[in-house]
């Protein structure tokens, strides 16, 4: 995820990465990683990156950061489909979970 500051909103972080901040730490599927306790809605990205094994890259010229996914395991840590919300041609967001109750064949393609 692209960040303009090193503080990240916990809800935005959870939506993008699947890691939910709970009293016991950052949790995804059946794994929880302890974090420094916080009652704030914002967390220091450097602490998250270090604890979760996420790369944190900085583009100095534009002063933006990119926080990558957790490393060390598989791309899927659970078979539960991740939250995916993407726009259609008109820019209208479509939530994958709105198809719950139907079988889905998700096909990734490209024009290039």
């Amino acid at each position: 995820m692209i960040l303009k500051t090193l503080q990240v909103d916990l809800e935005v972080f959870a939506q993008r990465t699947g890691w939910v901040i709970k009293p016991e730490g950052a949790c995804k599927a059946d794994r929880c990683v302890p974090l420094p306790s916080t009652t704030e809605k914002l967390l220091d990205v450097r602490a998250l990156a270090q604890r979760l094994g996420m790369p944190l890259l900085h583009d100095e010229k534009h002063d933006i950061w990119s926080l990558g996914p957790e490393s060390g395991g598989r791309v899927l840590s659970s078979a539960v489909a991740p939250e995916i919300v993407l726009p259609d041609l008109d820019g209208t967001p479509f939530d994958l979970s709105s198809l719950r109750g139907q079988k889905i064949l998700l096909v990734a393609w490209a024009s290039w």
């Binding site: 933006i64 996914p69 791309v75 539960v80 489909a81 041609l89 064949l105 393609w109």
Partner: protein, 216 residues
């Protein structure tokens, strides 16, 4: 549903979607988040998700049909009209292994038999078959994200080092490579911006390895 991995946005995918007039959701993924979230590394890739929202097959090659150029007679006629450079590319394209018959038969079996289909995998097997993500692959995702963000913000030159980093860190990710190559040359030929290009990188691995064999 379909998702176009196109950093250039809706306008890049529009003519294909409008020509197909699909009844299913047809979405655009400018940041290639499907690479990070589902392990997509090439197109077409398919992921099966059941009625409860469980992935029953992770990302894998998903050709729905054999393209017309795959027929030998069509291919030869097409190649006669091509430049030597295009002909060299097409010669390798013809060697790429695609398995649309087996894939669509498995898909139909799952549609009919659901969780009883032998092609529907257990959660443990889905996780096991998803790609490994060592630190360099995670860093490739973060690098590509910076590249696509800067490109979309109008800083195409500043995006190039990040795209190059993504290519170096995850060389088997063809969506990262082909996306960036396309910005330098729509034909994905040699450019001074990148070390590789489509033909060089396909020749390096062997066209038959462009997609892994389906494990059905």
């Amino acid at each position: 549903m379909t998702v176009a991995l196109d950093t250039a946005g809706p306008d890049a995918a529009r003519r294909w979607i409008e020509a197909a007039q699909p009844a299913h959701p047809s979405l655009i993924d400018q940041a290639h988040v499907l690479d990070e979230l589902l392990g997509v590394v090439n197109v077409p890739n398919g992921v099966w998700i059941d009625e409860q929202g469980m992935i029953v097959r992770p990302a894998e090659p998903a050709y729905p049909a054999r393209p017309s150029f795959a027929k030998k007679e069509n291919r030869e006629a097409l190649m006669e009209q091509m430049s030597p450079e295009r002909r060299a590319i097409f010669k390798e394209v013809a060697k790429i292994r695609i398995q649309p018959e087996a894939y669509t038969a498995a898909l139909r079996d799952w549609v009919t038999h659901g969780s009883q289909s032998r092609y529907a995998l257990t959660p443990e097997e889905v996780i096991r078959r998803s790609h490994a993500r060592p630190p360099e692959v995670a860093e490739a995702a973060a690098s590509f994200e910076l590249g696509q963000y800067l490109h979309r913000a109008g800083y195409a030159d500043d995006a190039v080092p990040w795209f190059r980093a993504a290519h170096r860190l995850q060389p088997d990710n063809w969506t990262y490579k082909r996306q960036a190559w396309t910005f330098a040359d729509p034909g994905q030929g040699p450019t001074p911006l990148y070390d590789g290009y489509w033909l060089s990188d396909v020749l390096a691995i062997g066209a038959e390895n462009y997609y892994p064999p389906l494990d059905l």
